[in-house]
């Protein structure tokens, strides 16, 4: 992982200490991704044992700071930290000082007083993890910031593809739907192109951001473009974005008719992914979601081991050696 350099708002210290964060897939090199996915694979094997807990991060503290509702991400980060024996503290925005108008900076400083090793943050605003990384000494993991990035989602998607489809390099992945508002899409475009996949974005014109081809992907407004893809990655159609007057599309009905992923639009054997939560019958036909080619539950399972790998990698700076750990555990 490269060091995330952020311009300090105070006069820059002479030499800021290097810290490792995971704020964007852009922070990672190809080697970083390969190492993380291999680590995740080691953890997956370790989880097949009866005793699932590893002592690796004993004595470390992980704070989960969630300012947006989340089931998958928050639960899997929590479980990942626990499986590695870290102390976990989960803070949700409702019922906390945030309700009383506390600023993100002050919340972060308050939690930093406990000296956490890692702060995992989800926040509706772009730049929130960057701010936390600037004001605390913790490693910061972005669990989703606004429409910007959701790097652990992209890593678990790469892991899922690697385990269920084959090597990512050379695969063709079509990402379908509301790319404009999707942090999942942004992280996945970066991750997939970094690892050598061909990526095609498919959706209504106003929901494909202008200039996104510069990220190294292709763009089409024609759903037929998914035909040649090995993997069809369906994005959630966010109903709240489709309010009257927005006019990204004339109606959800027309969206579904034109861009919904249905059995008729897929070839047998094409794998289907979705980051959840799904709007069945909107962006994805229920028959597709439940088909044998859907990897949606597999993605959720991959989330646990990939997040274990991310925490492990940030705190130990090296490839995992499960065998040694396992010995220690037995001893």
């Amino acid at each position: 992982m490269t060091v995330q350099l952020v311009r300090d708002d105070l006069l820059p210290p002479s030499d800021p200490p290097p810290r490792r964060h995971l704020i964007s897939i852009g922070d990672l090199t190809c080697e970083d991704v390969t190492r993380l996915l291999a680590t995740a694979g080691s953890f997956e094997r370790s989880l097949e044992r009866e005793m699932k807990k590893l002592p690796t991060l004993r004595g470390r503290t992980v704070v989960n700071l969630f300012f947006e509702s989340s089931t998958r991400t928050s639960s899997s980060f929590e479980l990942a930290a626990k499986r590695l024996s870290a102390d976990v503290m989960s803070v949700k925005s409702s019922g906390s000082s945030v309700d009383k108008g506390e600023s993100l900076k002050d919340t972060a400083l308050t939690l930093a007083a406990y000296d956490p090793d890692v702060i995992v943050i989800r926040h509706p605003q772009i730049g929130a993890p960057t701010l936390v990384s600037r004001v605390t000494g913790a490693h910061v993991v972005n669990a989703g910031d606004g429409k910007h990035q959701h790097p652990t989602q992209a890593l678990l998607d790469l892991y899922t593809i690697g385990q269920n489809v084959g090597p990512v390099e050379g695969l063709h992945v079509a990402i379908v739907g509301d790319v404009l508002h999707s942090r999942v899409a942004r992280s996945n475009i970066q991750a997939l192109t970094l690892m050598g996949a061909r990526v095609t974005l498919v959706g209504p014109p106003a929901l494909i951001p202008r200039g996104i081809e510069a990220m190294g992907c292709e763009v089409s407004t024609d759903i037929a473009a998914i035909g040649s893809a090995d993997v069809v990655y369906v994005l959630r159609m966010q109903r709240e974005r489709m309010e009257a007057g927005e006019n990204y599309v004339p109606s959800l009905r027309e969206y579904t008719a034109r861009w919904g992923v249905t059995p008729a639009r897929l070839r047998p054997g094409q794998k289907v992914m979705h980051p959840g939560p799904m709007n069945r019958g909107v962006e994805i036909d229920p028959a597709v979601a439940d088909s044998v080619d859907a990897l949606i539950e597999t993605q959720v399972r991959a989330g646990l081991v990939v997040r274990m790998a991310v925490l492990y990698d940030l705190l130990t700076h090296g490839p995992v050696e499960i065998k040694a750990e396992a010995t220690e555990e037995v001893a």
Partner: protein, 435 residues
């Protein structure tokens, strides 16, 4: 100039010896001495007698007409925690400015003679350099009803602007152009079509696509530039276009000027130096309206400044409280400070690499802005009031190292090393800053 600029009066004595004197408007660029007696330039030449005055050694330095910044937010009244007339004009003095114009988007808005009058009164007491106050085009800057422009002009308004907000309705903008003419003051417009800019956080382009920040496309500015130029042409009135950011806007302005429209345009140092690529850091001190745009936009602005299409460089100095900028990028308010860094930023990033000559930069920061608002341009001439800046173009410094005179520190250049220091500012005959 006297009736619309207000500040402390001065009648200082001074001799600057052996400086490179540059006054582009008068075609002066040579090593000379300049003497100021009781606030007025009395002698320019070689071996000028010091007359017992304080002598400032100017060898290796540049003496030029001091700068004029027609686009400053003094945050007074209402947000004196962010800036006051005293602190903002002290920052201006430190930046080499001998006059500034303050925007009326305060709390309350400067849309009545009463608010304006109290500002002028304070400025006479506190202002380190003369300051003029623009009044709102529309009451409360709400874009519904014209402000009482005639009364405001009589009370000393320096011009009219709803800066921060566009005048959305074309019919109202037309009325403003018609009516303001009776005052003889300028009208200055913030060009933004709100249904196109929407809740845009940065320039719409490849970088916003990648970051996920809502895009504020160039066309949101340029369609309004086109509309306002068309209205100015139709009414035969002068118009000043604030803080242009897009290539298309520069093209529109150039076409209109060629067709005889009396239009002036301004660009800010940050738009002339940075592009949207800088926003990747998600530093809230890179968030401003209009946003930083692409490299072709930046090049077009620089070309516009060079060929004179853009005759005004203005800082759009917009102070914000630290706690308001110390938030995620998306939550942060628009605006950055600029008074104390404008010359150094442009000297470093435009003059240094040869994109602009020093005399052209000096002209666009002084005579250009003065003319755009119908003010007397500062000049180095016998008998003229002393409005002088002494510059060390080669001195390097780190932004923020000595703190700021502004009450706010939301500079887009924090921690950067720049070349070009202001050594002395004389404003309206008074030594306002000396380093």
């Amino acid at each position: 100039m006297a009736e619309i600029l207000h500040g402390k009066a001065g009648n200082d004595d001074l001799v600057v010896r052996s400086a490179r004197v540059i006054d582009p408007a008068q075609g002066i660029d040579e090593l000379l001495d300049v003497r100021v007696d009781r606030g007025v330039i009395t002698d320019i030449g070689l071996n000028v007698s010091p007359n017992g005055h304080r002598v400032v050694e100017g060898r290796g330095l540049v003496l030029a007409p001091a700068f004029v910044d027609p686009h400053v937010h003094l945050r007074t009244p209402g947000r004196e925690d962010e800036e006051t007339i005293a602190s903002g004009t002290a920052a201006a003095a430190a930046g080499g400015f001998c006059a500034i114009l303050a925007m009326p988007n305060t709390e309350p808005v400067v849309d009545s003679a009463a608010v304006l009058g109290s500002l002028i009164e304070t400025a006479r007491e506190e202002a380190e350099v003369p300051v003029g106050f623009l009044a709102a085009i529309t009451k409360g800057q709400r874009g519904e009803q014209l402000s009482e422009m005639a009364e405001l002009a009589d009370a000393g308004a320096a011009g009219f602007s709803d800066d921060g907000m566009p005048v959305v309705a074309p019919g109202l903008m037309r009325r403003a152009l018609q009516y303001h003419a009776i005052t003889g003051r300028r009208v200055a417009v913030h060009c933004e079509e709100p249904t196109l800019s929407r809740s845009g956080q940065m320039h719409e382009g490849p970088v916003s696509a990648e970051l996920g920040l809502a895009g504020y496309p160039s066309v949101a500015e340029s369609v309004m530039v086109g509309r306002d130029l068309a209205l100015a042409a139709h009414e035969g009135q002068a118009i000043h276009l604030l803080h242009l950011s897009a290539r298309e806007s520069v093209d529109e302005l150039r076409r209109a000027q060629a067709a005889g429209v009396r239009a002036t345009g301004e660009a800010t140092p940050h738009h002339l130096v940075l592009t949207d690529d800088a926003v990747r850091s998600l530093d809230p001190n890179l968030k401003m309206n209009p946003p930083l745009r692409g490299d072709d936009d930046r090049s077009a602005l620089v070309a516009g400044v060079r060929d004179g299409t853009i005759s005004v460089i203005a800082t759009d100095h917009a102070p914000h409280a630290a706690h308001e900028k110390d938030v995620p990028f998306e939550e942060a308010p628009f605006g950055v400070t600029g008074l104390e860094t404008a010359f150094a930023a442009l000297n470093t990033h435009l003059v240094g690499p040869g994109l602009l000559t020093l005399p052209t930069l000096l002209e666009r920061m002084s005579a250009g802005p003065a003319r755009a608002y119908g003010l007397e341009p500062p000049r180095i001439e016998k008998g003229a009031p002393a409005n002088l800046v002494l510059l060390d173009p080669d001195a390097a410094w780190r932004v923020g190292e000595g703190g700021f005179r502004s009450r706010s520190r939301n500079s887009w250049l924090l921690g950067e090393t720049l070349r070009g220091k202001v050594r002395l500012t004389v404003a309206a005959g008074r030594i306002a800053y000396a380093a």
